[in-house]
Symmetry: C2
DNA sequence: CAAGTCCTATCTAACAGTTGGTAGGACGGG
DNA sequence: CCCGTCCTACCAACTGTTAGATAGGACTTG
């Protein structure tokens, strides 16, 4: 139960943070979920800030992997772009949770610096992937990164709004709307 | 100092909530900002939930007024639509704050029911106004409300992302991108 | 007018619970 | 025996909330 516990802590913390944010993280609840006492978590993470940063880092690393998997599995960049919002949909499917980094973007003022860094990395990873897909799909454009940022922001916003209604349908409708307007290539 | 104190409390709570969310609200800090002790706030609001609901309600009421003022001042609905993101920009201008209700949308799981209601009212007010402008601008369409929701979500997302970089420029760029893609009428 | 009564707005003081974090010991496997 | 892992027990800070007191003004009443 060495690396096992660490993994379990990270996983429990991620799930909690996706529903209640960084501020909603607390050692006792995480411990209870893992089957460990709160104080024991300090054996794996020296502080809450470190745990938060570790969670956020793992989060964007997993996102990066998922994006790579998506683009290699689908091949066609336009179709990969169409599948992109599905990743955000999955968080909503998991008990109406939201993207960890969107939540933390809201909490930005109260985040320890190391956590802020990881949150930004998540956005960077997404924008970079989107820009690559856009470039591959339309064969050009220095504005690819700008467009990528717009797609990222819009999808994050759709998730936020849909969450406040606990409605997957609303999320789907919003994405369709983005597609019809031309924000996301069709 | 009767209604005066109540006003001051609401104002301080709004400013705090726009930066730290509902969870970031606490009676002692609000009291200190107003120049009153925490316990005295209970003379004006029976509980934190009530204060939160009052703040959120006033927030969307003010938003509704601002939207009316915008559309009557500008006249042309297309130009009013173009000016819409400016309202969200203003929050960022005020010390990188964000829309109260976007923040609370993230905190949705932890919100008392009366607060949830007011948060949704804010979204409704925005969508209704946007739908009206869209209908007036393009003379038609039952999908106006759908489009309105998409614009609302995208602008909220842009604000969220821009906040996490503390960058007004980023916000402006995102809005321009929405306009160029056709999401917001040009 | 004076005295008594009430209301409003605020205070001090404390409560019970929760938080992040620390100190020091128990215990099992190599 | 010692090291990795976990524990119990605690602390100080902070939370929402309550109880009870106080100061001052307004109203009523003798």
């Amino acid at each position: 139960m060495s690396e096992n516990a660490r993994e379990a802590i990270l996983e429990a913390a991620r799930r909690t943070a996706q529903a209640h944010g960084y501020g909603g993280l607390n050692f006792r609840d995480i411990g209870a979920e893992v089957g460990i006492k709160a104080a024991s978590i300090y054996h794996h993470f020296p502080s809450k800030a470190d745990l938060g940063a570790a969670v956020a880092k793992r989060y964007w690393e997993n996102a990066a992997e998922a994006l790579e998997a998506l683009s290699t599995a689908i091949g066609d960049p336009t179709k990969a772009l169409q599948a992109y919002p599905g990743l955000f949909r999955r968080s909503l499917e998991e008990d109406n949770r939201m993207c960890l980094c969107s939540f933390m973007a809201a909490e930005y003022d109260d985040l320890p610096d190391p956590v802020k860094t990881e949150v930004q990395a998540f956005a960077d990873v997404n924008v970079a992937w989107l820009a690559r897909m856009l470039a591959a799909a339309s064969g050009s454009g220095s504005e690819c990164e700008t467009k990528a940022r717009a797609i990222f922001a819009a999808v994050a916003g759709a998730q936020l709004i849909a969450r406040s209604r606990a409605s997957l349908d609303l999320f789907d409708t919003l994405i369709v709307s983005f597609r019809e307007s031309g924000l996301i290539p069709a």
